[in-house]
C-alpha cells in the first residue's frame, strides 16, 4: 500500500516534469529569418534567385524577392519548409521540400540559395549582437 503510493507519487512527479519539458520544447516560439541573398561559404558562392514562394508547415505561401529577408515565426521543434523558385515570368522552375528541427535557440536564419543548392549548412542559429 505504502509502496504503491510512493510509486504513484514518483510517477506523477515524473509526469509533471516530463509534461513541463514537453511544453517547453513544443511551445517554444522561434523567429525564423528567410534570406534570399547571395552567400559565399568558403570558396563556394550561392546565388540568390529572382523570387520564390515559401511555405512553412503547409501554411499559405509567402513570396520573397531577390535580396529580401523575411521574418517568420514558428512554434515547436520539427518543421517542414517548401520552397518554389520562380523565374522572372513567375513560373515555378524548381521545388524543394526540406524537414528541419530547431534547437532551443530563439532566432534562426534560413539561407534559401543554400537550401536550394543542397548545402547542409542552410539553416543556422542567428546571433544578434548584444544591444
Amino acid at each position: 500500500m505504502k509502496a504503491r503510493r510512493l510509486v504513484v507519487r514518483a510517477a506523477a512527479l515524473f509526469l509533471f516534469v516530463a509534461l513541463g519539458v514537453f511544453l517547453f520544447v513544443n511551445g517554444k516560439g522561434h523567429d525564423i529569418l528567410l534570406d534570399n541573398k547571395t552567400v559565399t561559404m568558403g570558396d563556394q558562392t550561392y546565388e540568390a534567385f529572382a523570387s520564390a514562394l515559401i511555405s512553412l508547415d503547409g501554411k499559405k505561401a509567402v513570396e520573397i524577392q531577390r535580396r529580401e529577408r523575411l521574418p517568420e515565426m514558428l512554434v515547436g521543434k520539427n518543421h517542414v519548409i517548401r520552397v518554389e523558385v520562380m523565374n522572372r515570368g513567375g513560373k515555378v522552375i524548381q521545388t524543394r521540400e526540406e524537414k528541419f528541427s530547431l534547437g532551443l535557440d530563439r532566432t534562426w536564419l534560413i539561407s534559401l540559395p543554400m537550401l536550394i543548392s543542397g548545402d547542409a549548412r542552410w539553416i543556422q542559429v542567428f546571433k544578434t549582437g548584444e544591444n
Binding site: F24, G27, K28, G29, H30, V75, R106
Partner: protein
C-alpha cells in the same frame, strides 16, 4: 428559524443590495449600451472569477479573508515572466506558466500558512502585512534577480541598465490564448467559453472538495479549532493545506487574468489582485466567516459593473472621469472596511440575542435537585 422576516433578509444582504441600487442609478448616467455592458461583464467575469474563487477555501477553514492570495499572484507573475522570456507561446505557454507557478505558490503558501498559524484569529491583518513584506521580496527578485542571477534571453524585457524587468511587459505569446481557444458568439456577445469551462471546473472542484474528508476537517477547524483538535484533527496542518490550495489556485487565477489583459504591470498587478478580489467577494454578500460560490459570481458582477460604469457616470455628473477613477479605489477599500464593520455589528447582534436567554424574566425556572 425558517420564516425569516423580510427585514432579516434585507440586513443579511445589505451590501449587495446597496451596490445593486448604486449601479442601477449609475447605468443610465453612464450612457453605455446594454450590449456593451454585457460584453464587458462577460469578459470581466471570465477574467476575474477564478481569482476570487481561490479565496473560498481558507474562509471555510476559518482563516478569514486572506491576502495570502497576493503571494500566489506573485508566483503566477514570476512564472509568466519566465515563460514570456523563454518565448513559450500559445496554450503550451499558458500551461507551462501554470506548472511553473505551482511550486512557487506552494512554497509561498506553506510559508503563509506557517505564519498564520502563529497568528490565529488575526489572519486578515497578518496576511495583509505579509503581502507587503513579500512584495519587497518579489520586487527584489524581479528588479535585481532577473538579468543578474536568473538569465534573461529577451533583452527587450529588461530595463536599459541590463538587469531587472521593465515596468510593463508585453505578454504577446500568451495573450488571450485561453479566451480565444473556444470563443463562442451568442448574438453580438463574444463568450470566452474555455475560460468559463475552467471556472466551472473550479466550482466543481470546490463542491467535490467539500465532500471529502479534508473538506470536512477544514469546516470543523473553521468552526471550532479547539473541538477539532480534541477530536484528533491535525488543526495546524489542515490550515496550512487550506492556504496552500488557495495560493496555488490564486497563482493560476492571476495567469488567467494576465492572459486576458495581455500586458503585465510588473510591480503592481498582484497588489490590485488581492484588494479587488476581496472587495468583489464582500460585495457579493460574503462575510469574513462565510462565503459561497454564488457570492463570488454576484460579487464579481456587481463590483465590475460599478468599475465600468462609475468613470463615465462621474464624467456625466461632474464633468470629470477622474472622479469615477477615485470612486473605484474608494469603493474597493471602503467596501472592505464596511463589510468588516457589518460583520462586527452582526456578531454583536447575535451576542445580544444570546443574552436575551440570560434574562431572568423569560428564562426557565431554576432547576433544583429535586
Amino acid at each position: 428559524m425558517k420564516n425569516k422576516s423580510f427585514k432579516d433578509i434585507l440586513i443579511s444582504n445589505a451590501v449587495p443590495i446597496i451596490f445593486l441600487v448604486l449601479s442601477a442609478a449609475a447605468i443610465p448616467l453612464s450612457g453605455f449600451t446594454t450590449s456593451y455592458l454585457i460584453q464587458e461583464m462577460v469578459t470581466r467575469m471570465g477574467r476575474n472569477c477564478f481569482l476570487v474563487l481561490s479565496l473560498l477555501i481558507p474562509i471555510a477553514a476559518g482563516m478569514g479573508l486572506n491576502f495570502g492570495m497576493v503571494l500566489g499572484a506573485m508566483g503566477g507573475q514570476i512564472a509568466i515572466i519566465l515563460v514570456t522570456d523563454w518565448n513559450i507561446v500559445g496554450m503550451q505557454g499558458l500551461l507551462l506558466a501554470a506548472m511553473i507557478s505551482t511550486p512557487i505558490s506552494l512554497a509561498l503558501g506553506w510559508l503563509t500558512g506557517e505564519i498564520l498559524n502563529r497568528a490565529k484569529g488575526r489572519e486578515m491583518v497578518t496576511s495583509f502585512m505579509l503581502g507587503f513584506f513579500m512584495n519587497g521580496v518579489y520586487q527584489f527578485i524581479v528588479l535585481y534577480g532577473f538579468g543578474m542571477v536568473i538569465p534573461v534571453e529577451n533583452h527587450a524585457m529588461l530595463l536599459s541598465r541590463g538587469f531587472g524587468i521593465r515596468n510593463a511587459i508585453n505578454l504577446q505569446g500568451v495573450r488571450q490564448v485561453l479566451d480565444k481557444f473556444l470563443m463562442v458568439d451568442i448574438g453580438p456577445i463574444h463568450v470566452p467559453m474555455a475560460a468559463f469551462i475552467v471556472i466551472a471546473l473550479f466550482c466543481l472542484f470546490i463542491l467535490w472538495f467539500n465532500r471529502t474528508k479534508l473538506g470536512q476537517d477544514m469546516r470543523a477547524v473553521g468552526q471550532d479549532m479547539a473541538v477539532a483538535k480534541s477530536a484528533g484533527i491535525a488543526v495546524d496542518r489542515t490550515r496550512i493545506i487550506a492556504i496552500i490550495i488557495s495560493t496555488v489556485l490564486a497563482g493560476y487565477g492571476q495567469i488567467i487574468f494576465l492572459q486576458n489583459i495581455g500586458t503585465m504591470n510588473t510591480y503592481n498587478a498582484h497588489e490590485q489582485a488581492g484588494i479587488f478580489a476581496i472587495a468583489s467577494l464582500l460585495i457579493g454578500g460574503a462575510t469574513v466567516s462565510r462565503a459561497t460560490i454564488t457570492n463570488v459570481f454576484v460579487g464579481v458582477m456587481l463590483f465590475h459593473l460599478m468599475f465600468v460604469v462609475s468613470p463615465m457616470a462621474g464624467k456625466t455628473l461632474m464633468g470629470q472621469a477622474q472622479l469615477g477613477e477615485y470612486f473605484r479605489v474608494f469603493v474597493s477599500y471602503g467596501i472592505i472596511a464596511l463589510a468588516l464593520v457589518l460583520h462586527a455589528l452582526r456578531r454583536r447582534m447575535d451576542k445580544e440575542r444570546e443574552r436575551q436567554s440570560l434574562r431572568g424574566g423569560d428564562a426557565p425556572a431554576p432547576a433544583n435537585g429535586h
